[in-house]
Symmetry: C2
């Protein structure tokens, strides 16, 4: 393949000048630059990334770590981040943990990222004390998205999960519901992934505020998936005194709830109201009320923040405050049947 000295020879300059010209450094005369660009074009030259990286000390790559690409929130974050990174000519190295704790361990504690990327975006990745130490030891810019654990020096992009849950619960309360169930994450399973903890907290706060003591029987754990929400709802329906409303911690769970209710022949919101969090692509299609968050905004903001950090610019101000959420009332919530 053609190398930098081929271009240098054709353009009649040194390789150093070719390198400078091609990277757009200011210290090259306009005529020289044109000659070099022309030569490079004629030869179809592209610099070898490995060589540039070794010599230059930067990789031009950013690692994006997600728990599960097939969940709406994560795919959307990655897609938005990818667009921003592509524009800045960074490569996106994808690490999908896929629920494999071992993959998480290997990634964090094996220096796998070490000389491989310039920065890291950790999306909803559980971090224990030793993980935080490992990640800090990377000594590179990073951001967390939707993460419960703060990493010193890393901006944290997120919504206010407690507030979002309060909004959802308050909506149900305002409609007149008293027996409100909650479907959320499994504490044992999800470790420091705190989203579900905060959403549960908001749910309880909103209930207590209006004098309702949260009923542990109505607070069920499930995976953050359609199937998880469906199973949890089936369990709720077996109670002697089932709820009149369900607040699911994400839209995928809420859609699972809708499926179970439909199969059980119950009408929504006639018999039971359902609300989620996210505003999933399909939430509108199934008429699901929800507390919307923008996964795309979070992905974009996380990428932009990282890019600024890589240029030693001050982090985006917006990365300091939680992103907004918004109640969207569709057909899945309504007043309970007159008691």
């Amino acid at each position: 393949m053609t190398r930098i000295d081929d271009v240098a020879r054709l353009a009649g300059v040194s390789t150093a000048t070719v390198s400078r010209a091609l990277r757009g450094l200011p210290t090259v005369s306009e005529t020289t630059r044109m000659r070099v660009l022309d030569a490079a074009n004629r030869l179809g030259y592209t610099a070898s990334p490995s060589a540039s990286r070794l010599a230059g000390g930067r990789t031009g790559s950013i690692a994006v770590v997600v728990p599960r690409l097939t969940r709406w929130f994560f795919a959307t974050v990655v897609e938005a981040a990818d667009e921003a990174l592509q524009r800045a000519a960074y490569d996106l190295l994808l690490y999908n943990l896929g629920g494999r704790e071992q993959a998480r361990q290997r990634l964090l504690h094996t220096a796998a990222l070490h000389k491989r990327v310039d920065a890291v975006m950790l999306v909803a990745t559980p971090l224990h004390a030793d993980d935080v130490a490992a990640v800090t030891g990377l000594a590179m810019p990073g951001v967390t998205v939707s993460s419960g654990t703060a990493v010193p020096g890393w901006p944290s992009i997120r919504i206010d999960d407690v507030a979002a849950a309060r909004t959802a619960t308050e909506h149900l309360v305002a409609l007149g519901h008293r027996r409100i169930a909650h479907i959320s994450g499994d504490d044992a399973d999800e470790l420091a992934f705190s989203t579900h903890i905060d959403r549960r907290l908001g749910y309880r706060e909103a209930l207590r505020e209006v004098g309702i003591e949260p009923d542990p029987d109505l607070d069920v754990e499930a995976q953050f998936t359609v199937a998880g929400g469906a199973r949890a709802t089936a369990r709720l329906l077996q109670r002697d005194d089932p709820p009149t409303a369900i607040f699911a911690a994400c839209d995928e769970m809420a859609m699972g709830a809708l499926a179970t209710l439909r199969e059980a022949g119950l009408s929504v919101p006639g018999d039971i109201s359902v609300i989620g969090v996210d505003d999933h692509d399909l939430a509108g299609a199934v008429g699901l009320s929800t507390v919307a968050q923008s996964a795309a905004d979070q992905g974009r903001l996380a990428a932009d923040t990282l890019l600024r950090m890589l240029c030693d610019e001050a982090p985006d101000e917006r990365s300091q405050v939680p992103l907004p959420t918004r109640l969207i009332v569709r057909g899945s919530t309504g007043p309970p049947r007159a008691a």
Copy 2:
């Protein structure tokens, strides 16, 4: 950071031996290997990827190109491929085209992939004649997934889209439908991305086989999204003589159709039947009949095939034949109202 000569010094061997020992080459004595491993561990040494790549000539990375990560099929393919690649210790470079034709052009014609990856997986990426030439010029192993255009020497992982569409259409015909609409891709928009062309073909074949001449008015173009399916369905409902059944080219479009029908106050399948293709994660939850394909199988198989090619092994036999599809009848299809 610690380099290979630090390890060599501590272990009392040459850097060549460290390199061999750490990569598990067979030409190292067991005792030496132990000494080297021990030294590397003590120093927390990991080889610099850039240096290894430059010296070794392989990047250990694979490019995965998808049109849109946020569509179920593509996210699922990538997730499955990622798992296989991670296991083989390959990095996954994600290229999400996001509908940006310019991104596709840049990727294919700019030698961007050139010395950056060892192999390429092209998922549903439109390829014109000059694109095929560019991709072949890469001179590296590759596979296509769900692609209409064959690249010489590259295995093509796919289902039989014509047959899948026939299955869906025949199901509706068997239920007694005659006015069957089809919602599929936009020819102008999607170029050589042939999935929708094949599915339209299967739809027409199945109709003609039972003596029904496809009605162009019932064959509407839309984007492969929920919103696209919803809008297309709204258009169908405006016809003087609307269809009694809709075959949507993918489940996301079908779910959009369901949404529009629900909003229009029509019952499914009482007034109109709907069937899609995919078996999307949520198809079960919304009771959508569909022709299932396994995106995960395709992603896994594509990755495995690539890995074998990189080892100069014969490609997996399964990569030679279309993967199976399967009709799944749920609640969204039924006989038309007695005329």
